[in-house]
């Protein structure tokens, strides 16, 4: 979708995931698609010039005690070739359910972050990112 904004010759792009595939991936990982709920702060630029390294920051509010801490956070992209980007796991020793990394996005899409805690609570956050040139796009004019 993002590559369609740029009038350049592009090589064939891999097929993207669909929201249904992301829903199925979340169900496979978490049992069900949890409701959107506050508590997950997703920090990502609203517009990324290139999808090759989009900085992503995630923080889940949690006391991070042995009794109540975030156990895992998974990130999904609705239009990437692979619906699931990665899964991060935490323990009470982590001190905070917080991480920063850089991800690839194939184009403008919603990314979904799903978190689960040691008490069994699950919740989700959805964020839209506009990508000018997608990650899996090999521009022939670049070579």
């Amino acid at each position: 979708m993002g590559a369609g904004l740029v009038a350049l010759a592009v090589l064939p792009r891999p097929a993207g995931a669909t929201p249904d595939e992301v829903r199925a991936a979340i169900e496979a990982d978490f049992g069900a698609v949890p409701p959107e709920a506050p508590g997950i702060t997703v920090t990502v630029p609203p517009l990324a010039e290139t999808g090759n390294a989009v900085p992503l920051g995630v923080e889940v509010a949690s006391p991070m005690t042995e009794e109540d801490h975030v156990t895992r956070v998974a990130v999904y992209a609705e239009a990437n070739p692979y619906a699931k980007l990665g899964e991060m796991r935490f323990s009470a020793a982590s001190g905070a359910a917080w991480f920063e990394t850089a991800i690839r996005l194939a184009g403008t899409q919603d990314i979904l972050v799903v978190a689960e805690t040691s008490t069994g609570a699950q919740f989700l956050a959805r964020t839209r990112v506009v990508v000018v040139v997608g990650a899996c796009t090999a521009l022939s004019s670049r070579y």
Partner: protein, 105 residues
């Protein structure tokens, strides 16, 4: 595989400190094509874990959607002086490790 880690030298007991770890890895996602027309096969790191004081403080299951030269910033609660250990696993099973001592006083 080259790696870079950043662990604070000292921390107060109970302080939550930031850790950064980067690995120099192409994270080929299997979609890129050479100018000769050959598809570059997928070659990624599959796992990253950081251990401290006998616990896993951060673990990642990586996929091809993580950028090349993957960098992770995360936190841990400083409790005792000891090594903060990092371990990356390649899809072919190769394990790369790094560590740094965190002094808690």
């Amino acid at each position: 595989m080259n790696t870079r880690i950043r662990v604070p030298e000292t921390a107060a007991p109970g302080e939550v400190v930031e850790i950064r770890a980067m690995a120099m890895h192409p994270m080929d996602n299997g979609f890129m094509v050479t100018t000769q027309g050959a598809t570059i096969p997928m070659h990624i790191l599959t796992d990253f874990v950081c251990r401290y004081a006998g616990a896993e403080v951060f673990r990642v299951a990586l996929g091809p959607g993580i950028s090349a030269n993957p960098i992770f910033a995360f936190r841990l609660r400083a409790t005792e002086t000891g090594p903060v250990e990092f371990e990356w696993t390649d899809q072919d099973g190769t394990v790369t490790t790094a560590s740094s001592i965190l002094t808690v006083a």
